[in-house]
Every structure is written in C-alpha cells, then in structure tokens.
C-alpha cells in the first residue's frame, strides 16, 4: 500500500474532506467494529443516514407488508357458522380452540402448532443457506420496528447530521419539543403494537371498545403493557444491542451458511487499495473504494462492512444502496458492496469465472425436509377426524355385583364432535352375547344408541354393560365401542374390556 493511502486512511488532514470529486467524506466511526470491541463499554449511539436505492425500497415494501399483516389480520372475518367465532385468526384460550381461516385446532392437536414451528425453523434454515441473514435484514420484528422507529426519528429530528447536532445541543424549547414529539409517536406505535397483539386472543371488534373504556380483562392490559414496553425499549433504545447481545441467531447462522451462500459483501478484490480519489487521477493501480464511509454512515448496526463478515451484520443491504449511489456519482460500476459468495471471491482472486449455485446438498436437504413436513401437516389436516371417541372404564370399583349375582361394568364415553354442526351419530356397543346395555338418559336398541352431540363440543354419556354369571367366560372380555356418522361414513372405534372375577 502506498504512503498516500496510508496517510489518507489513518489520519486525514482537515483539508482532505473530499473522498472524490463531489463526494464528501462522511465523518463517521464504525462504533461496533471488531477492532473497537471492548468488554466493558457504554453503548455509543448510532445515527444511520438515510439511503435511497433498490434495497431500501425493498425494505420499505417488506416493512409495510409485515406491519400491515400484523395490524390487519385480527380484523379479517371468516364465517364458521352459528355460535362459532367469525375471526379468521384467533387463539381462544377460554374456549380452548385455535382458529386459522379454515383450520380449527383443539388442545389435543397442538402438535400442528409444533409442526408449524418446525416448518418456520426449516424455512429459516433454507433462506439462510441461500441468501444469508435475510430474515434478520428484512423481516425480523426487531429490524422492522427499529426501522420504523428510525423513520419516525428522522421525520421529527431530521437525518443523521441534524440528529447528531440535536443530541449535542444544550436543552432548549426546540429540543424538548422535538424529543417530546418523537417519544410520544414512539409510545403510540408501541401501544398499537401491544394492542394489536391482544386482538389475536379476543374478538377484535369486541375487545377494542373494552380496551379503550378500561373494561377489558386484566390479562389484556398486562400483555399490552409488556409489548408496549418491550417495543418502546427494544426499538427505541436498545436497537442493535438486541441483535448482538440478546439474540442467538447471529451465533446459529454460522452453522447454516457456507461458502456459496449469498451475503452482503465488500468486494475487497475490487475495492482495494482504497483511498481518496483526486480529480484527474487515474483509476489504474488502485481500488474503487474512495474511503467516503457512506457505507458506515448508513449502517444501523454501527459496523464497517469493509472489515469483512462479522456477527453484528444483519445483512440489511443498506450499505449496498449507499455505495451504489456513490459509485454512480464517481462514474464507476456499481456493486462494490453487493450480495456475493465467499466462493466467488476466491474464484475472482484466481482469475476464474463466477458461479452461482443455489442447488447444493445443503439446500436440497433443507428443501426436502421442509417439503416433507409441509406435506405431513397438509395430509394430517386434510384427514383430520371430526369425531373422536374416548372410553373411560370405571376403575373404583372395576366391576360391581348386582342383587341377582350378575356383574356390571360402567364406562364414561366421551364423544368429541369437532365439526361445526349438530350431527346424528350412532354409538354401537359390541359386547358378548347376553349382555344388557343401558345408558343414563339415552335409549338403547340392539346395542345401538342414537346421539345428537352439539357442534364443536364434547358430549359425555354414562354407559353400563351387565353380564349374568353364566355369560361370563373369563375375567377380561373384549368390548368394542364405536361411533359412526351414517351420513359421512366417518367412524371412530375404541376397544375396551369387561372385567369380572371370571369363572
């Protein structure tokens, strides 16, 4: 590296404010860069500079899409029939049901939620193997809300330079009013965030007026309060510290990416040696990086992408937009910072052609398992039983002797009608020859009972099977109880036994 570059990079004379013609060097330090990392250090505030470009636009789109879904989803209606909630997405704790559009899950089917979490994890693995930390950079709630909070901050206090000046300025009426406006807006957003969360657990149109009038249940205010507080603190004050110190994902992702994963990369092979570019100087023999530090100023994590891959980097790609903007100004090709793979960097260094290989054993495996779990869940849901039968045989005592010496067993039969209509079902008790069958409040004909269990509820009946001493062949005789929907042909069978002292 020539002496000129060293001079410019290490100690810039006050006159050398220009990185290139028309490009001012931003006075910024990468406060969280690896060389500056210390164990005990107070947080240094970061003032990310607004950038324009395709990734900033993509981030705006994702921000509005994700926030739009979050705030609007509870208000979406979905007709399920009389007596059923008409909210498309609802976690109904008192009613012990989870509704998601056409899917309705009972507590005994919580494994579908487990499946959904596995699906989410695998999708995250696949996306990370292909495109690095796209989750962190675009869709993570921490990123989205922080981005929104910074946008509000920029709206009230102005861009980077104005914000820094305001922070350094002594307290004045102007400063107080700006801070007050900013924090009020932040708290409003935080409360809307916490409030929207509550809508997922109650009927939204019912709970909204209750929330505002102070008549909602305590739990609603508690969760609203917790989420308001965490949103305000995480997105307003802690920001990048949540990603760096609290979140495990930066540590896990190292195991999920490989040398062919697309990641936000500074192409040092093109950029180095870096340094200010003076008017009329040739670009030969030097890199395209003009040390303008626009990438550092744009970074919400306070790092310098030119230091290489580092765990603080959330791959938000804002530095790409910042750099491309500069490259256009100095009339150099864009993409000095770009989505790139480690493999391509090596290939370019060796003078070989770049390759992009999305289909790799790792991505095939993730995609295969992802597809498998998705198919399993879809199959499970499509084959989901709408009747279930549970038979609880009385255990204290297992059987009772009647006055004529006959033996009787009692069973509590629970029929789960998981459909949304009252249906006519036939319960059949397949007991040995000579068995007398009776049920409390029901009529038994030929071992069959006709039932009309209510929609979406558990119907419980008490059933008795009596055998005379002469009909008893052994101490445990199989009895099969089954329930059939004659209309749909759906059936549930539950084998049980008739117990006695035996012969």
């Amino acid at each position: 590296m020539s002496q000129t570059h060293t001079l410019i990079e290490d100690g810039i004379p006050a006159v050398a404010r220009e990185a290139a013609v028309g490009v001012e060097r931003v006075d910024v330090e990468a406060v969280n860069s690896a060389p500056k990392r210390e164990l005990y250090k107070a947080r240094e505030p970061i003032y990310p500079k607004l950038v324009h470009g395709k990734f900033r636009m993509l981030k705006w789109v994702v921000l509005f899409a994700t926030l739009g879904v979050y705030y609007a989803l509870p208000w979406l209606r979905w007709a399920r029939g009389p007596g059923e909630p008409d909210q498309a997405v609802l976690v109904d704790f008192p009613g012990q049901r989870f509704y998601f559009f056409f899917i309705e899950i009972w507590p005994d089917e919580l494994y579908y939620v487990t499946g959904l979490l596995i699906l989410g994890a695998l999708a995250l693995f696949l996306a990370t193997a292909l495109f690095g930390r796209v989750w962190c950079g675009y869709t993570c709630p921490q990123t989205v809300w922080t981005d929104l909070y910074i946008a509000v901050e920029r709206l009230v206090e102005g861009d980077r330079n104005k914000r820094m000046r305001l922070a350094a300025a002594p307290w004045s009426a102007n400063k107080i009013s700006k801070k007050l406006t900013k924090h009020s807006l932040w708290i409003l957003i935080a409360m809307a965030t916490g409030g929207a969360w509550v809508f997922y657990f109650h009927d939204a149109p019912t709970i909204l007026p209750q929330l505002l009038l102070g008549r909602a249940p305590m739990s609603a205010y508690l969760f609203m309060g917790i989420l308001t507080l965490t949103t305000y603190i995480f997105a307003g004050f802690m920001r990048e510290q949540v990603c760096t110190f609290m979140c495990p994902w930066p540590r896990i992702q190292a195991a999920l990416t490989d040398e062919e994963t697309l990641q936000v990369t500074y192409r040092e092979d093109r950029g180095e040696p870096r340094g200010a570019h003076k008017k009329g100087d040739s670009w030969d023999g030097r890199g395209d990086c003009i040390s303008c530090r626009a990438c550092v100023a744009a970074c919400p994590m306070g790092i310098d992408i030119r230091d290489g891959a580092q765990l603080e980097c959330i791959n938000c790609a804002l530095c790409i937009d910042a750099c491309d903007d500069i490259m256009k100004k100095i009339d150099r090709p864009t993409g000095l910072i770009a989505y790139d793979t480690d493999k391509n960097r090596t290939l370019r260094a060796a003078g070989k052609k770049e390759t992009f290989n999305l289909v790799r054993p790792r991505t095939i495996l993730y995609a295969f398992v992802l597809g498998l779990v998705a198919v399993m869940i879809t199959y499970g849901l499509s084959q989901r039983a709408t009747i279930e039968l549970n038979v609880l045989r009385d255990r204290t005592p297992p059987f009772v002797q009647l006055s004529n010496g006959a033996i009787r067993n009692a069973y509590t039969v629970k029929i789960l009608n998981k459909s949304n209509e009252t249906r006519t079902l036939v319960l059949t008790v397949d007991a040995p020859e000579g068995a007398q069958i009776s049920a409390i409040g029901e009529t038994v004909e030929g071992g069959k009972i006709q039932l009309n269990p209510e929609s979406d509820a558990i119907h419980s009946i008490r059933l008795f099977v009596t055998l005379s001493q002469t009909s008893i062949t052994k101490s445990s005789i199989p009895v099969t109880i089954s329930i059939l929907d004659p209309q749909s042909g759906e059936e549930a069978v539950n084998p049980t036994v008739f117990l006695s002292e035996g012969k």
Binding site: Y40, A42, R395, T396, P397, V400, L402, G405, G441
Partner: protein
C-alpha cells in the same frame, strides 16, 4: 499506600479498591448503569409500596397501608363470588317438575353430573368410596340393591334427612341385638343363621332351617317380610339377594343377630343447598343403581 490516594491499575487504567490478596488487586469498576437504574427504581417502588400496602409488622398488628389491602379478604370475596355464580347456574336444577326429568335434559344432566361428581368427592366419598363402591357397613351405591329405595325421590330424601341423623324427619330402622339383649337363646340364633343363609340360596342344615322357620316368622318377618325380601319403606334389607352390607358369611350373620346393626348417615340439608342435593341425587342415581 496512603489514605485518599487513588491506586490506578496500570494495565486497565481502572481504579482499584486498594485490597490486595497474594499480590492480586481488585478493580473498582463502576456498577453497570442499567443495574443501578433498576436498583433505584426498586427502592422507589418499595417506598411507594410501603405507603400503599401492608408492610411493617408490629406487636399488636401491622401497618395497613393507604389501600387497606387484605389478601385474605380478597380470597373470601372471590370464593363468595364463585359460590354465588355456581349457585346461580345450579338454580336451574330446582325448576324441573321432578328430579327424574333432569336425566332427559342433556344440558341439565351434564351440569348435575359435573356438580354431583365434585360434591360426592368432597362429602360422600369418605364413607361410600370414591367410586360409590362402599365398604363393609357403608352401602354400595352403584349396585341395584337399596335399603331405602333407589328412585330419585328416595335418594333425595335420604340425602336431605339422613339415616338415624339429628333431623326430625330422618329415616330410622332398628336391627335388634337379639343375642346380647337376651331376646333369643344361643341355639335359636344358631338356627336363624342357618335359615338366613338358606334364604339367599346358601347350603344350610335342613333341620336347623325347619326349627328356625317359626322363630323367623315371629321375630324377623315384621321388618324383613315373611319371604325375607325386605321392606324398603322400613329400611329393612332384602336377605335373599347376593348383596350384604355387613357380609353374608355365617360369622357375619351371627354377629348381626347377636349385636344388632345401625349405621348412621348425616342429614345434608343443613350443610348443602337444595340445588346441590338435587345434583347429588342425580349423580348417585346415575352411578348405576338408579331405579
């Protein structure tokens, strides 16, 4: 080291506490700011708490605080609320014409079964067993043999007024201590044991049975009936079936004749509400023996 002189660690540039152990000095790093802030908030909250809530114990009580909070009173109020709410639901059970109608109404049946099961566990299971199977001397409620009747009305009355209980309308029956009180000589009791055994189909000494027949007619038939099948109105058990409250072996029958019997069931009107008794009656009826 002199007093009031700061000892600065040369490696970290941090002040030390001045304590040295085997040449190792302790750095005097400041407490983390978040920790300090949290601590100050805790102190502030504790002061507010002491003003508002019960806090300091004294010799004759404790400081009540401005809010006069009492967890015990809250629990009592919550329990009263709960009870009132439950009773409101259970009141539906009193609206039916006869208790038997409840079994035909699915909603009322599920309600009384749920309420009855919990009431049975709390009040009845101690004597009658958790499943109603009973024990020696405590009637089995799930078979089809009843001392005082197994209809809804009969079960309800037994629950309300009890047996030999402290209640003006209580049910009373009396099995005399024929042996102990010298009402029958020993040989006649032995003959009666054979007779009673034969009633339920047991093998017995035919001569003794023949000798006991007039004794039974004279002493026992008034309650147990001439055929020994019992009279429910008097609470006299059926001696011809397979069910024995105190055991059906000869030694059990002899003991019954010698010393008499008389179990006690409390009257529940004073302890349970009318609704609860109805729910219990439906539950006991549904256990299997209901008539």
């Amino acid at each position: 080291m002199a007093e009031n002189e700061k000892d600065i660690d040369e490696h970290s540039g941090v002040e030390t506490t001045g304590h040295t152990w085997d040449g190792i000095k302790e750095l005097n790093n400041p407490l983390p700011r978040w920790w300090l802030i949290t601590w100050y908030i805790c102190i502030a909250i504790s002061i507010v708490y002491m003003v508002l809530m019960p806090a300091w114990p004294g010799i004759h009580g404790y400081t009540k605080g401005l809010r006069n909070h009492s967890e015990r009173a809250n629990v009592a109020a919550a329990m009263a609320d709960l009870e009132a709410g439950r009773n409101e639901t259970l009141k539906k059970l009193l609206l039916v014409e006869s208790v038997g109608d409840i079994e035909q109404d699915s909603e009322l049946l599920q309600l009384s079964m749920a309420a009855g099961a919990s009431l049975f566990g709390d009040n009845c299971a101690t004597c009658h067993g958790s499943g109603g199977q009973g024990f020696v001397g405590y009637p089995n409620l799930i078979d089809d043999d009843w001392l005082w009747g197994g209809t809804f009305a009969a079960i309800q009355q037994t629950l309300q007024h009890g047996v030999r209980a402290d209640d003006p309308e209580t049910r009373i029956n009396l099995m005399l201590a024929y042996g102990r009180d010298g009402m029958l000589p020993r040989e006649q009791i032995s003959d009666l044991v054979e007779y009673v055994t034969s009633l339920s189909g047991g093998e017995a000494d035919a001569q003794a049975v023949a000798r006991a027949a007039p004794i039974f007619a004279q002493n026992c038939a008034s309650c147990h009936g001439a055929d020994g099948k019992g009279i429910q109105a008097q609470g006299a058990p059926n001696l011809t079936d397979a069910i024995w409250l105190y055991g059906g072996e000869r030694k059990n029958i002899r003991e019954t004749l010698q010393n008499g019997r008389g179990g006690v069931m409390p009257a529940w009107t004073s302890r349970l509400s009318d609704e609860q008794i109805v729910a219990l009656a439906v539950y006991v009826h549904s256990l299997g023996g209901g008539e």
